[in-house]
């Protein structure tokens, strides 16, 4: 009986700890979401108003340019830029990362370890340290304030990680599967697409989510390399809410929600695939 009680207490303590940790992690995000739906006045109130007295969509209406007092922020253009840049750079990074990961996992070639190590070391360089050289290069090439400029930067940022992650997934797939397929009548290329690629799909999806989120959320480099609605992304657009003496917290939070939602939806969509794909079976040895 007492042992039962103790076990229940232990479980309860565990739950409580987990809950508190989650609270600490989630409260800022929750605060942003709440603030997106209430007026600036209430956000700045002292003492703070925890539970909003009224919820309103005014903040969203405002930043999209409807309603009484207009804040002319081109959210739609920023959203479009973000989507184009994040999606394109993710697709390119995945294509290169998959090819590279496969090569690292399957082939022997000269300087393989050195190349691999170099890629990983590149990850250790903080992106912001590259901002000045990239800025100078891009301004010579006319890539400042262009979607292409950011796409190239994000591809470079994401390829090492995607290659590394996907390499790990291909390593888990026994080479004999591809060999069996080749004996069964496939070319090497067919064996890859029919056998190895489907089996590594979950890993490639994980790498894709990571690359997308990195590009979608990146601020430091984007703020250096973009100027106008031609290329500004959503995180950079957030800065539009700061004026010299005031910050429009309500508008900023509304925009933050607009940034968070697509990322959440994507993660949610891929999540099931990630988990089901990670459980491997069928090969012994």
């Amino acid at each position: 009986m007492t042992r039962d009680l103790r076990r229940q207490l232990k479980a309860a303590a565990l739950w409580l700890t987990a809950f508190l940790l989650m609270v600490v992690m989630c409260v800022p995000g929750l605060w942003v979401v709440l603030s997106a739906f209430r007026p600036n006045r209430e956000i700045l109130a002292k003492p703070p108003v925890w539970l909003p007295e009224q919820l309103t969509l005014d903040n969203f209406a405002k930043i999209f340019g409807f309603g009484a007092d207009q804040v002319a922020i081109p959210v739609a253009a920023y959203f479009w830029n973000s989507m184009v840049i994040a999606l394109t750079s993710t697709v390119i990074a995945l294509a290169i990362g998959t090819a590279g990961g496969y090569a690292f996992a399957r082939f022997r070639f000269r300087f393989k370890n050195a190349v691999f190590l170099g890629l990983m070391l590149f990850r250790a360089v903080p992106g912001i340290a590259l901002s000045l050289p990239v800025f100078i290069l891009w301004s010579r090439l006319g890539l400042i304030d262009a979607q292409l400029g950011l796409i190239i930067v994000y591809v470079a940022l994401n390829v090492p990680f995607t290659a590394w992650l996907i390499d790990g997934f291909f390593r888990q797939i026994p080479e004999q599967l591809s060999e069996a397929a080749q004996v069964d009548g496939c070319t090497r290329w067919q064996a890859f697409w029919r056998i190895e690629f489907p089996l590594a799909r979950s890993g490639i999806a994980a790498a894709g989510v990571f690359a997308f989120l990195t590009s979608w959320n990146e601020f430091a480099l984007a703020s250096q390399l973009t100027r106008s609605t031609d290329s500004k992304t959503l995180p950079v657009g957030l800065m539009d809410f700061t004026a010299q003496f005031t910050i429009d917290w309500a508008g900023m939070c509304a925009m933050a929600v607009i940034i968070i939602v697509p990322a959440l939806i994507l993660t949610f969509l891929v999540q099931k695939h990630l988990i089901s794909g990670l459980t491997f079976g069928g090969v012994k040895g």
Partner: protein, 364 residues
Amino acid sequence: MAGITLRNLVKAYGRVRVVHGIDLDIGNHEFVVLVGPSGCGKSTTLRMIAGLEEITSGEIRIGGRLVNDLPPRKRNIAMVFQNYALYPHMTVRDNLGFGLKIAGQPKEVVAARVQEAADILGLAQLLDRTPAELSGGQRQRVAMGRAIVRHPDAFLFDEPLSNLDAKLRGQMRAEIKKLHQKVNNTVVYVTHDQVEAMTLADRIVIMRDGHIEQTGTPMEVFNRPANIFVAGFIGSPPMNQLPCSAEAGGLRLADGTVLPVPARLAGKVRPGAALILGVRPDDISPEGSGLLATGEGAMVRLTVDIAEPLGMESLLYSRLAGQEVQSKVFGPRLVSPGEVLDCRIALDRAHLFDAATGRSLEAA
């Protein structure tokens, strides 16, 4: 169906040669087993036949056609891998039909052939499962099924049973044998287990360090091993090897015991030669408790160290002329450690090898 010919086949990784010019003719419908210790180049040879490993030099022909530079898919062979290599994301049905589908066969043909293979191997109930939902033996059968649906010229097996437990291994061994009798195709089978080799093979190829040591039917390699290596490798427990020197009166063992020279080898023994006398454990046993007729062979005296009763027989580890020898006692006779036994050696079934070269005197 087709035979396979290897001519002076060489494989080198960089500067290291692992297969040193192998010659082998495998007949149509023949079941050939490559056997040898770990690292002797069996898998490498098999993979070269399959086209999964480039050959350094030499020639491979399948059905008379030179296949040196053909990719695996153009060789019309099937292979069963040690880890089965079933496609984990496909059902058993799709695993079996994969090769036919790739070849562009119509749906009805694929379905019919899959059904045929499933019936032969007793897989009909399992067709809609994935490999993860099968037992080891069932996976093994699916791997074999995948090989037979395509009606290939030859089957290649690389240690297909080594992931199974002992009982299942025996069962599957019998099934492979049955399968061969049913579909009757050319088989090249790699194993390091000499029992598998003996039971399955039409012909055994014994390899060591990238060379072929001997080729022959199971009975030939058992009864007439070409050298000490084959003698020690084939047969379980292994053949006893007693160093001796040839004298006018016979063979003198290390402790001075002199045994007569086996009659059939009398002409081949040069006096003074350093030799090794090879005797199988079955051919040493106490009078009346073995395969030997009374009065047959020569008498020796053994001191028993360990006796292992196996039911029908007991295996004895004893000392003879300062050397450990294994021998067998048949029937209910119990032997205890320390016992001194007078045993008979069936010398007419014994072998003599040159101590320097290891070659059998019989061959010379």
